[in-house]
Symmetry: C2
Subunit: 413 residues, 2 copies
């Protein structure tokens, strides 16, 4: 009888990867601000000017000296003489003396002398005089220079993901192009004599390739750019050429299929021919995902994932995704999770970290319940597609009991 | 003294929009599966074949009749005669009779006659005979035809967002191109004499445009495609031309600035000149975001948002985002929220639905605390940028007390 191969535990696997490979961003490029959405900032951004650059009125009305309005009330207005008009977009030429007011619109610079603005609603005008019916305090209705951002302040730091708010901050400072980390290119190829590409007629005995498509999309979900290479038969010479091409055209390589222990499993041997150190993990004690092989070929990571679609996506999620995210410059955030009650007893596979795909439901008492997805086949794509998340069972745990509280790691990004 | 304009409440505003405009997807287009990430499926997908299309071995080993292996044990192997080889990707020619076994690899079709597979690890081979050391049950190590997806089953429905798992399902069925909803184009323009585009030198009295950039990015976050039109002075004739261009080039229009009550506020008047019914909401009783104007111009929605960056983004979030998402075919999901304790007393603006931007922190007892962002200025971009979310205070609520539990709606997508 054949010997079982010694598998690495999930923790050992992560440790071996960490010892051999330090993922870091590959480079920095510039992008126009309008294209910066979802990119990762590659520099600390320091404000080179005050925002706003000058004191601005936040209302339409009159720029005044606040003390001139003290005591003004609905029945006892204060009378001020209009000394000019402060328009938006120009530095005002006049200055406001005691007893004076300047017409002002929202966003216009507060003229010299003035230190507050009165809303037009609280005034009445007669020729070149206004009556103010409500007092304002110093700085009222004024956004002072630097009130939003102070010159010299670090407003964004390297590694931040750029969304609407961060893009707004960059625009405020007049930055039209920004430095972002290059997106790692991840080659995706499938192996197997039985696999053909979708879109073609299905010959007898064949099945459509799932993994290259689900993994390419998972690469995008992880902040990478997929380089789709297609389907290859698992013959040594063909695979060797395909892997060479993959390593040449991408920063990381993922394959699926051809990693079991059978007579046709040429992937590990082929990987070892391609560069040093070669295969660093050959088989991981997880379920599903056992036949996962990890290699490092002259500085590039190769994740050889199982052929089964659910196994391939789970192993990708556990091992490849954090590497891709780190190389994209993204911070590794804890996956979102919820607590739920196990709908039934769940058993781990002997000696393996076990991941049970579950669907979340509400029971009669509106409590959240985690129900294992019925198919349970790692060969099925529907197992994963029907799940909302998974429950992890430790290697040494006996089982999870019915109604026990479990943590469900959510699959949604 | 001027009269205050009658504002619409937030609920009235939503109701008026709903009465006037039913957002729906604009059209359907085809996309290659590798580009389908984050698009919205525009059809129900029914399986046109069983997945897998035939019974497959899930192991490397031997295809057998299960009953032939009954009683096999480590010390009492069963002897079977090899009748051929089942390769992956081809229909096997042989059939397996009683007392026979066919070599088989993972993924190969189970030959006629056989109903299970024995893992190679539990066998020993001698010439054309194998010894089986462990019994298998019927269907063991076999994935039966249709076990994953049954022909005729609806596997995905219109409106689903396409991620790695959904793309995997489509690939499994051989679908290389899929129907998705067209992405709504959203015109974004800024108005104001004081505004200039980032990337240029800042003249005295001017500020850089923030809103066109933050809103363009918010459009992407909402599933739309921004059509950036730039900055326009708020002069009636210029604005009218710009809005005409915006309405012609996009499905929805957003503007910011030029909607207050001042002498230069020409936006509402201009909108009413452009088509019917024109302005449907003029001012919303929210804080920030009061000077928000909503118009419907010959079937297209126009959201005229305030000039203040935080106000503009919040009003966009409350009113425009749901419309864009619906037009993109996306389901409106409740924004993610967490419960936290108010770090201080929070007051609403009189008669207005008030949104307090807060940062989430942990107190000494590790309880989650919502702390108002210190700047508090709706004119500041940093107010929103420094917040994790916001707390909503109802129009008729007196205040939220310190340490009261509040719901924080998270800003992150």
């Amino acid at each position: 009888m054949k010997m079982f191969r010694k598998l690495s535990t999930l923790d050992e696997t992560k440790q071996v990867i960490q010892q051999n490979f330090r993922p870091k961003p590959l480079g920095v490029e510039e992008t126009p601000l309008l294209e910066a959405y979802n990119r990762v900032l590659a520099e600390n951004v320091t404000a080179i000017l005050d925002i706003p650059p000058f004191g601005r009125s936040t209302v339409d009305g009159y720029a005044v000296r606040a003390e001139d309005t003290f005591g003004a009330e609905e029945n006892k207005p204060v009378r001020l003489k209009i000394c000019g008009m402060a328009n938006a977009g120009k530095l005002p030429k006049m200055s406001v003396a005691h007893g004076e007011a300047a017409e002002i619109v929202t966003g216009a610079p507060i003229p010299d002398g003035a230190d507050a603005a009165v809303m037009i609603e609280y005034t009445m005008r007669k020729d070149d005089v206004i009556y103010v019916y409500s007092a304002v305090a110093k700085d009222e209705n004024v956004m002072k220079a630097g009130a939003d951002i102070k010159k010299g302040e670090v407003i964004l730091t390297s590694g931040q993901l750029l969304g609407s708010r961060e893009v707004g901050l960059l625009a405020a400072l007049g930055i039209a192009r920004t430095k972002v980390y290059s997106t790692p290119r991840v080659a995706v190829l499938s192996t197997g004599a039985e696999i053909i590409e979708p879109g073609r007629k299905l010959p007898p005995g064949k099945i459509y390739d799932i993994n290259a498509y689900s993994l390419s999309t998972a690469v995008r979900e992880s902040g990478g750019k997929p380089v789709y290479l297609g389907v290859f038969p698992d013959e040594k010479a063909v695979l060797q050429r395909a892997l060479k091409q993959a390593l040449a055209s991408a920063d990381i390589v993922t394959t699926s299929g051809g990693v079991s222990v059978g007579p046709k499993d040429v992937m590990p041997q082929t990987l070892n021919l391609l560069g040093k150190p070669g295969v660093i993990v050959c088989g991981v004690a997880i379920k599903p995902g056992k036949p996962t092989t990890v290699a490092l070929i002259d500085g590039k990571m190769v994740f050889s994932l199982p052929g089964h679609p659910t196994s391939a996506l789970l192993a990708f999620h556990l091992l490849a995704r954090p590497i891709i995210k780190s190389m994209a410059g993204m911070q590794l955030e804890k996956a979102p999770e919820v607590r739920a009650l196990a709908s039934m007893r769940m058993f781990p596979a002997k000696g393996r970290r076990t991941f049970i795909m579950v669907k979340l439901k509400r029971d009669k008492s509106q409590r959240l319940v985690a129900e294992p997805v019925s198919t349970g086949l790692s060969g099925a794509i529907t197992t994963l597609a029907r799940a909302n998340g998974f429950v992890e069972i430790a290697e040494n745990q006996q089982f999870i009991d019915v109604s026990e509280e479990v943590i469900v790691q959510l699959l949604k990004d």
